[in-house]
Structures are given as structure tokens and as C-alpha cells.
Amino acid sequence: MTKTIIELKKADLTLGRDAASVHVLKSMDLSIDEGEAVGIVGPSGSGKSTLLMVLAGLERLDRGEIHIRNTPLHTLGEDALADFRGRNIGIVFQSFHLIANMTALENVAVPLELANVRDAFDIARRELEAVGLGERLSHYPGQLSGGEQQRVAIARALAPSPAVLIADEPTGNLDTDTGRQIADLLFAQQAERGTTMLLVTHDPALAARCSRQIRVRSGEIENDSTRTRASQAAIA
């Protein structure tokens, strides 16, 4: 039996002030089960990335509730949120965002060290080996290709064994072949670990590889493949 890991209730958020304000999330309801791979698609400015930020505990809701692993994120303070994020949420960015003056091994170890994991560097080494970079441990980001940097970023996101993996356009800065390899790696790791993954992308093919697709438009969920399937099943 599947278990709900993320629950968004009447999530409402406006960014900016006065004339520049934008109502980004409009009373959004969303429920995601453990182990799901959810592709979030939609046009630019539709609220996809903001939804990810809310789910990562980086943006606070104006109204509504967000629960991850039964923890009410909307009630947590800044430092408690940071701690929760470090232990439960891994993030992969479009531009990798590795720390330039740290080696691949040190980059992967950072979230573990912040979570006070004792054998942080051993785990980091295993994670890098898992993404095929066992020979690149002491390389700095500047000495790695784009694809390799994204592999390090994936290893860093997965190192603390997060319950939720958030990926924001993970192949957006990569060529087609490298992008495919990275996508393969992401889905393989997600499947192997049973991690819940939320993936924002403009690439329909990549979104199609997810078990569930959500289309966002103007701060609202325009289409949810799970609901669509459920209603089709009901009609059948």
C-alpha cells in the first residue's frame, strides 16, 4: 500500500510587492506518494520552480499547509527548516551549483557534514563511485565536464539518503547525449533507492519517463496524469 509523503493543502503564494507582485501559487492542493517520480511541466512563469522551492522549504507559503513525511513545514523556523532540508530533501540544479573551491568528494560530503554524519567522506566516496566518478574524487568542478559536474551534483543530492529528490531542469545545461545519460542516471538511482522524485522540465520526453506528470499553468494544476488516469478508470 502506498503512503503519502508530500501533501500540499490550499497552498497560496504571492511574490514581489505592489505593482510588481505575482500570484504564483493559487490555493494549490497536491498529494504525492512515496517512491513516485513526478514530472512537473508547464510554460515559463507558470509556477513550476516556485512549487519546487516551496516543497524544498526554501519559500514560505502565504497561506495553506505543506507536510512532508508528516512534518508541517509551514510551522518550522528558518534553522529547523534548514535542518529538515539537509536530512530529507536532495536538490539537483540546472547549473549544478557545485562549490568551486572544493573537490568532488568534498562537495558531496558537505550535506553529510552539515547533518553531522560521522563517516561523511566514506559515504561521499561510495556515492561518487555509484555515479561513475570513482576516479574523479579529488577533481575540482572546474576540472570536470558539464555531465560530470551534474553527476557530482546528483551524488551530493543523494548522499544523505533523502526521502525526496528535487531536480530543477537537470538536463537543461547539457547536450542531448549527456542529458540522456544524466536522465538515465537519475531515474536509475531513484528507482534503486525508492526515492520520491519531483522533476521540473521543459522536455516532454523527460517528463514522459516519470510515473506521474503534472502540468502547471498560472499557479494552478492544469492537469495531473494520476487524476486523469483515475477518472478514466472511473469512467471505464
Partner: protein
């Protein structure tokens, strides 16, 4: 193990890892800190090396454990007997006179010092050629030996072996003075030194009634610690009418020590002003440094770093960079006394051993650290507010706002601590308070000027030239450097103007008044019987010249408004008036 317990070392590790990329981009930071810190360290180290030398080499600088000085008279037999009861006595006589070439072709003012065979009781008198002083001063065929400052040889175009006339005595220059151990304690001379024997001075005929001479009696005691205890009180009790000036080796050169301390305080404030001007640069450099780290800061936050860990990471990094800048300044300050001693040797006959002055270096480091801390806190407050969400949006960071109140409060407290340090360590606290208030006032005025400039730029009419439009826009746009530039330039210029005005005022005070009121020549020590002859000489030289005469005698101030001056509390700046004889006209 709790996460909180492990955080400081983790923040330190992360800070050090991140610094691995080097200190690129922080050279401005170092350049802002090192000179100000170095100036304060150097000024105080040199000052302390001099005052330490004065206090530790007191016996040598005074050429005795104690010195009794009498103006225009010798000690009476009773007084001399009393002095001899204190220890071994060396007598010397000092006066200012003209030394003439035997053919009368040239002459020069000299500071004459006539010593006995016991001189010096402490320290070493060195001459070139390096022979014993009695040998150099010995008389031969009616000509007395004399050693002189090299400057006198230059002025009279003489060489060692040449002859001079001092009054009625003929002197042969037997060498030049290399080291005169007690020169500092006798004050700065107006003319080159001429050292000869007491016999030569007596033969010169310059010591007559009314001659302006200083009679010094230096004493070497068997047990200085006991002998110096209450020496002044005992001597004055034994001879209340003696009017002697008594100085002991623990304060061999009080005026010099006070002047050095006073001057070093002034230079410390100048150094502090440089540091504060540099502090604006530090704030800008820290801001630029943290701006370049915003993506990394946001990444740390996304990876689960609490805000205070992020602040700690960059606090440590900035501290490391600041310590590097301060260390450079301290090295400069530490070697300053060694460099200065080479130049000072020409003016001050004190040997300053090459050593560190921890107090001076600590003071400079404290000034450097507090300036850095006060200037880095607001940018760190901004760093704390860096939104991690910017990594998702792949867009720039929002315009900077004021940091949170705890950071503003901390910056304010650190500024207050810096001001307090400047005031507490100052020689003259009133001047330090004026300095601090002036700096604060300058800050406020310059901020207002910067705000007014931005306001004017924002409301200026739209111009057609794109270059001018961009330039005006850059004055008021969010994140503009208007405030920093106005502050840096304004404070720097204020410092330069202040120094220039002080210099100009002092010059005007000296030169301006002299040109209006000062006579062309000033003659002293003209005895009554010589007066008529002197008037005739002056009239012969310049019949239209104006000669103003004033009778003069020497005396001591013993009471002021009927009150005994020995019982009055006289400010340090005015104590010289009561020290020994004064010329009274």
C-alpha cells in the same frame, strides 16, 4: 554527539576549504588594513622603544644617579659637601657662547660644556679619534683640548687639529664627538656642542658675575635605590634656599619622554583616521567578497546549512583575511623601531635594542580587528539574508536592503568599542574625544551628502546623451556605490585637509608672528659696564636701526598670588615655569 556541538569546527573546516581558492579579489582588503595598522604599530613601537630606552638607560642618559642643577652660581661649600655625602660627584658647567677662529675671520654659536675628570659617571663618552677624554681635553703649551660636534667643523670650515678661541682661551680641536651619553637629559641644544675642561672654561674668562651658566653636579651613589628615595625632599629640607633643580635617573629626560608620548598619540590618531578611512574600503571589499560568494552561500543553505553556520563560515574567512592584513601591518610596525634607531642615532644618543613591543603591537592589532569587525558586520548581515531560492530562478539576487537589527546593533557596539579604545588609550583624552566626535560627524555629513546626491540624480531631467544618462542612472540605481565613494573620498580628503591645516597653522604661528614682531637680532648676557660699548657698535653698523633694551635678571618663582608654589598643583604643561631660574625683565 549533537549537531550544535560540532558546528564551529565544521564552519571552520568549510571556511578553510573555501579559502583554498586563494585570497584573490581581497588585495584591496589587505591594502586598506595593513597601512593603518602598520602606522599605529610603528608609531607606538618607536615611541615605546624611545621611552623604554630613556627609563632603562637613565643612569647613562643622566650620567649619574642624580643631577643637581644650579643656574648662574656654583654650589656653596656647604651644599657641595652635602652633595659629596651622597656619593661620587662630577661637576660640569654649561653655557652658550661664540667660538671664534683665531684670525677673527669667522665665528659660530656653540653649546659649551666644561667637564671634570670624573665625567661621565655612567655611560661611555666616545670621540673620533677614540682616546680617553682626559687625554683629548688635556692642556698643552697654554692651549686646551676640546672635542666638538662635527657640525661645528663644517660651519667654521675647520678640521681636527685646528684651533678656536673661546673667550680668552685658545682651544685645539682634538676630536669630534661620536657619543655624548647625557646629551638627551640636557635638552635639545641650539648650537653644536663644544666639550672642554673646566680649566679651559675658567681660562676663557666667560664665567663672571651675571653670566648665564648652568652648573651641574652629577652624583653616582653606592646604593641608588636607597639614595634616591625622597632625595628631593631631603635636599630641599637641608637647603631650602638652594633653588636647585633635582633630577633622578628614573626620570632622566622627562620632557623628551613626554614629548615623544604626546607626539606618538597624535600620530596614533592619524593612523586611526587612516584605518577608519581604510575601514570604508574594508566594508566595500567585504561586500564585494561576499557578493562574489552569494551563489555559494545559497548553495550552502540549500544543502541544509542554518543561517548562523553560513555567517560563521564567512566570519571566519574574513577574520583570516583580516588577520593576514593586520599581520602585514604588525610586521611593518615590529621592524619600525629597528629602522628608526638607525635614523635616531644621529639625534638621540640612546641605544634602542632591537626587540618587539607587544603592547604597541597588541594596540595596533586591536584597532585593526575592531575596525574590521565593525565594518564587516553589515555585509555579513546581508550575506545571512541571501535567498537560496535564487539558485532555482537562475536570476540575479535582489537589491540589497538594510541588514537585520542584530547586525546593525553589533556594528554600532563595535564602532563604540573602537571609539572607546581610541579614547582610553589616548594621552590626551579630550583630543581623542574631539577626534571621535569629528569622525562620527564626518560620517553623518557624508552620508547626508551621498543621499542628497542620489536624490538629485533620481530627480534630474532625462538627458539625451546615453553616456550621461547611464552615468546619472548609476548614481541612484539600487546597489549604487555613491555612498561608499562619497564616504571614502570624503573621509580621505578630510584627513588630508586636517593634516595640511595643522601643518599650515603651526607654520603660520611660527613664521607669521616672527616676521611681524621678531627683531632681527637678539642679544643677551650683556653686562652693565659693556652696555655703552654695545650701543656704539650697533649704531656704527646700522645708524637707523632700532635698539630696544631691557634689563634682565634671573630668579625663581616661589609664590603665586601669595601661595607657596611648592604646595600648588600645577598642570604638567606649565611645570617648566617653576623649574629652576627664569629670566625676568
Amino acid at each position: 554527539m549533537s549537531a550544535a556541538g560540532s558546528r564551529p569546527p565544521l564552519a571552520f573546516r568549510l571556511a578553510m576549504r573555501e579559502l583554498r581558492g586563494g585570497l584573490g579579489g581581497v588585495s584591496i582588503f589587505l591594502a586598506c588594513l595593513a597601512p593603518g595598522t602598520g602606522a599605529i604599530a610603528a608609531v607606538n613601537s618607536v615611541s615605546r622603544s624611545i621611552t623604554d630606552a630613556i627609563s632603562t638607560q637613565g643612569q647613562s642618559l643622566l650620567s649619574g644617579d642624580a643631577r643637581f642643577e644650579l643656574r648662574n652660581r656654583e654650589a656653596t661649600p656647604e651644599e657641595f659637601a652635602y652633595l659629596q655625602s651622597l656619593g661620587k660627584v662630577s661637576r660640569s658647567t654649561g653655557l652658550r657662547s661664540m667660538a671664534r677662529l683665531p684670525d677673527g675671520s669667522d665665528q659660530a654659536l656653540v653649546e659649551v660644556k666644561a667637564v671634570d675628570d670624573a665625567y661621565p659617571l655612567y655611560g661611555t663618552f666616545e670621540a673620533d679619534p677614540n682616546q680617553p677624554l682626559p687625554t683629548l681635553l688635556a692642556a698643552k703649551d697654554g692651549t686646551y683640548g676640546a672635542v666638538v660636534a662635527p657640525l661645528l667643523l663644517e660651519r667654521l670650515n675647520l678640521k681636527v687639529g685646528g684651533d678656536l678661541l673661546l673667550g680668552n682661551a685658545r682651544l685645539r680641536i682634538t676630536g669630534t664627538i661620536t657619543t655624548e651619553p647625557d646629551a638627551v637629559s640636557e635638552g635639545f641644544g641650539f648650537a653644536p656642542r663644544l666639550l672642554t675642561s673646566r680649566d679651559a672654561l675658567i681660562a676663557s674668562g666667560l664665567i663672571t658675575t651675571g653670566s648665564l651658566v648652568e652648573q651641574s653636579y652629577k652624583i653616582r651613589m653606592a646604593d641608588p635605590a636607597t639614595g634616591l628615595r625622597n632625595l628631593g625632599d631631603r635636599a630641599n629640607a637641608a637647603f631650602p634656599q638652594a633653588g636647585w633643580s633635582i633630577r633622578s635617573s628614573d626620570r632622566a629626560a622627562p620632557q623628551l619622554a613626554d614629548n615623544v608620548t604626546r607626539f606618538s598619540q597624535f600620530l596614533t590618531l592619524v593612523g586611526l583616521a587612516a584605518l577608519i578611512v581604510g575601514g570604508v574600503g574594508v566594508a566595500n571589499a567585504v561586500r564585494a567578497f561576499l557578493d562574489s560568494k552569494r551563489t555559494t552561500i545559497a548553495t550552502f543553505k540549500c544543502l541544509g546549512a542554518p543561517a548562523f553556520v553560513v555567517v560563521l563560515i564567512y566570519l571566519i574567512q574574513i577574520a583570516v583575511i583580516a588577520l593576514a592584513g593586520i599581520a602585514v601591518g604588525l610586521v611593518l610596525g615590529a621592524i619600525a623601531p629597528m629602522i628608526a634607531s638607525r635614523f635616531m642615532a644621529e639625534f638621540l644618543p640612546i641605544s634602542t635594542a632591537p626587540r618587539l613591543y607587544p603592547g604597541a603591537l597588541t594596540l595596533a592589532a586591536l584597532f585593526g580587528l575592531r575596525t574590521t569587525r565593525a565594518c564587516e558586520i553589515p555585509p555579513l548581515g546581508h550575506a545571512r539574508e541571501v535567498p537560496a531560492t535564487a539558485l532555482f530562478r537562475e536570476q540575479g539576487f535582489e537589491a540589497r536592503r538594510l541588514p537585520g537589527w542584530p547586525y546593525l546593533l553589533a556594528a554600532g557596539l563595535l564602532m563604540a568599542a573602537l571609539a572607546a579604545l581610541a579614547i582610553v588609550t589616548a594621552y590626551d583624552r579630550f583630543i581623542a574625544i574631539v577626534f571621535v566626535v569629528s569622525i562620527a560627524g564626518a560620517f553623518v555629513v557624508l552620508r547626508v551628502v551621498a543621499a542628497a546626491l542620489s536624490w538629485l540624480a533620481r530627480r534630474s531631467p532625462r538627458v539625451r546623451s546615453p553616456a550621461l544618462r547611464l552615468a546619472i542612472g548609476n548614481i541612484h540605481r539600487p546597489g549604487a556605490l555613491t555612498s561608499s565613494v562619497v564616504l571614502s573620498l570624503g573621509l580621505g580628503l578630510a584627513l588630508l585637509v586636517t593634516l595640511t591645516l595643522i601643518d599650515g597653522n603651526m607654520r603660520r604661528e611660527l613664521m607669521g608672528r616672527m616676521s611681524e614682531q621678531a627683531p632681527n637680532f637678539f642679544f643677551v648676557d650683556i653686562q652693565g659696564p659693556e652696555l655703552e660699548g654695545f650701543r656704539k657698535i650697533v649704531l656704527d653698523i646700522d645708524p637707523k636701526g632700532k635698539l630696544i633694551e631691557a634689563p634682565m635678571l634671573r630668579g625663581r618663582i616661589v609664590a603665586f598670588n601669595g601661595e607657596d608654589v611648592t604646595k600648588m598643583k600645577v598642570p604638567a604643561a606649565g611645570q617648566w615655569v617653576l623649574r629652576g631660574d627664569r629670566g625676568i625683565t
